[in-house]
């Protein structure tokens, strides 16, 4: 129990954060793309995330919640070290969230302002999350090199979100907006690929303990499928985007599915790099875990409630399946 419970919660936390990146990733991506669209298209883009964004955002609360519940000692260290990016992210999330609701209700005079704030909030949140991820991977390092690394991820994570946003629009829209989304996806795919590559190269450089895991023989061999599969999926995405017919009616989900695969692999790679540490090089998940009694109390709740959450999330996505037409929404 003392061994397995922290491992379970580390897995659950990873799962929640992965869900967050994929789900709120497409919300934030659509926010980033918003300034590029025409006024009526903006309404449809927002309508494409309308029923989902609130629940999507909740995954980060669960992620940080599990950090707090299961690993209270690491929770404080991690969040105090990331004070500036976390504060920026929260400011961004506040702006994005309220702009979503205000833009539909305020006098039309202010709608343009709320659209701009929606985009700004999304941009600040996306970059701040990249900064947080970068800081985390370097083991909360504060050397110039690790700070540059954090900035590198801050600038590249938005590319992934843009691609997720465009892929979601392919599923939810048709007509000229669909074509625009396809164009956006095409423009974002190479920057994202480059970013992924840079991050993969830089990560072992910036953290010796990660390098040790990936580049020692034969330990590194077991993890070879991750980079290989990632390359394969990425090539597949390029192939999909090369010809619009490969994403035509009934097949438009392929790009999003491919991106989920890519995020999953990146998540697994990251988990392998970090575990069993919770703060790289400083603290393991067992050293920072709550008492077993407290973990067990939450464990029973989690294994009952989490499947229910996934089930009703699935039901709600079923209810709102299909393309949005401009008639369905105001």
């Amino acid at each position: 129990m003392d061994y397995w419970l922290p491992l379970f919660f580390a897995g659950a936390m990873g799962f929640a954060l992965l869900m967050y990146v994929i789900l709120d990733g497409y919300d934030l991506g659509i926010g980033l793309l918003l300034p590029l669209a025409s006024e009526p298209e903006k309404d449809r883009m927002i309508a494409a995330i309308g029923p989902f964004w609130d629940a999507n955002e909740t995954w980060i609360v669960l992620g940080v919640g599990i950090l707090l519940i299961a690993f209270p000692k690491a929770h404080g260290d991690i969040l105090t070290a990331m004070y500036v990016p976390v504060t920026l992210m929260l400011g961004g999330l506040i702006l994005r969230g309220i702009a979503f609701d205000f833009r539909a209700k305020a006098a039309s005079l202010y709608k343009r302002m709320w659209n701009n704030l929606f985009a700004l909030g999304s941009l600040v949140s996306a970059c701040a999350q990249g900064w947080m991820l970068g800081t985390y991977i370097t083991g909360l390092g504060s050397t110039p090199f690790s700070q540059w690394f954090a900035i590198l991820i801050a600038l590249t994570l938005p590319a992934l979100y843009i691609l997720l946003g465009a892929a979601w629009l392919l599923i939810k829209t048709d007509g000229p907006l669909f074509d625009k989304a396809l164009h956006w996806a095409r423009s974002a795919i190479l920057p994202m690929g480059l970013a992924l590559l840079l991050v993969s190269i830089a990560t072992p450089l910036v953290s010796a303990s990660i390098a040790n895991k990936w580049f020692t023989w034969p330990q590194g061999l077991r993890m070879l499928p991750i980079p290989l599969l990632s390359t394969l999926i990425f090539s597949g995405l390029l192939w999909l985007l090369a010809d619009p017919r490969r994403l035509s009616e009934g097949r438009e989900w392929r790009l999003f599915a491919g991106l989920i695969g890519l995020c999953l692999l990146a998540g697994l790679g990251l988990a392998y790099s970090i575990l069993p540490d919770i703060i790289i090089g400083r603290m393991t998940i067992w050293e920072s875990a709550s008492s077993t009694k407290s973990l067990l109390f939450t464990f029973w709740g989690a294994i009952i409630v989490l499947p229910a959450i996934l089930a009703y999330t699935f039901v709600v996505y079923r209810i709102f399946r299909g393309k949005i037409t401009s008639l369905t929404y105001e």
């Binding site: 629940a55 209270p72 969040l79 008492s291």
Partner: protein, 443 residues
Amino acid sequence: MFELDPLVLSRAQFAANISFHILFPSITLGLGWLLLFFRVRYTLSGDTHWENAYHFWVKTFALSFAIGVVSGITMSFQFGTNWPGFMERTGNISGPLLGYEVLTAFFLEATFLGVMLFGKARVSNRAHLVACALVAVGTTLSSFWILSLNSWMQTPTGYLIEDGVFHVDSWMAVIFNPSFPYRLAHMLIASMLTASFLVMGISARRMRLKVDGPGTAKVYKAVVVIAMVLAPLQVLVGDLHGLNTLEHQPAKLAAIEGVWETHSGVAFTLFGLPDETSRTTRYALEIPYAASLLLTHSFDGEIRGLNEFEGAHPPVAIVFWSFRIMVAVGMLMILVSWWAGWELLVRRRERPSDTLLRASVWMSFSGWVAVLAGWYVTEIGRQPWIVQGLLRARDVVADHSAGVMLGSFTGYMALYVFVLVSYIITLRHLSTKPAASLQGPGG
């Protein structure tokens, strides 16, 4: 030289965040149930006025909910960014309580809110009713868990301390700690009253502007009846809560009453200026024996004074005054709701008098004032402790520089003022719109 203390700034920032945050859940918690009531009334009677009421008020609900969610996320992160010691010491207790809030409430309300706001044309009426009910249940469950944790910080039970770290002895004793039932009841009624007076106030404005004629009048009457029942009930619950505080947090109670020295036959101070340097209340207007009578149910009952808690009692003036503001607003609520009841139910007037409507408009945000004042009493009244009697706030604060803290505090404040102003402007704007013009999905 005047120096900024990071502890003071961290406290001010958290106080600003939690004050801003609580405004919105205190609306949605009550309004969620009111919306369900409107939907049920329509389903049972087929009266489209209730459906219109739903369509109008769901907009305010969606807006308030969104602000509540994003400011709530801020709070959940600030436990770690500013008060890391709190989680390190009490994580075994506060962690699971917050965890259950996320698992049982946050996902439920956020997910079904989507169906509630956008799904009306896509699901059956019954399924939509279920979604509305689940959102209302979700917000209530959320308050259950967070108030349980807050109450535990006020009246901790069911714990053991080993090497400075709290461990759970009994979950039942932790969750259902002594002040929890009173605080939960007090807060649930407070949010029903906050929502009712907001609906009353905005409906009064709509009646004066002659928007949605008879429909608005029906909504107005319905919330008047709710307020008439709940406002006096709140006094009763508040009184019980006060007796509970007397038993478990005597220092807070002494600050509320401005009792400097332990004595019997204590007078109730209506007004006065508590002065901590001279440890007296200046210009006190007192009712002899009233405090003893209220709290101990006997004229010569003894009340423990602040002298017993020197160095460990809250700042007196702010607790003393917040309490009086809360009570005064509560009395105003009783007055206005009963006045409205007298006009609508006894005199059976078709249209309430213009004076009443004006008074109702003035009372639109009275719930906010009472809720904030009440929370200041309970939270500032717990100081200097973060967990009453066991853990001090200054021992758990993060070690940020004053510069960083000043930057984040200013940023948050600017954002909150901007959002609050936008919110009130938008509510005013919405209140001039006929419900029919707001129809269609999209909250």
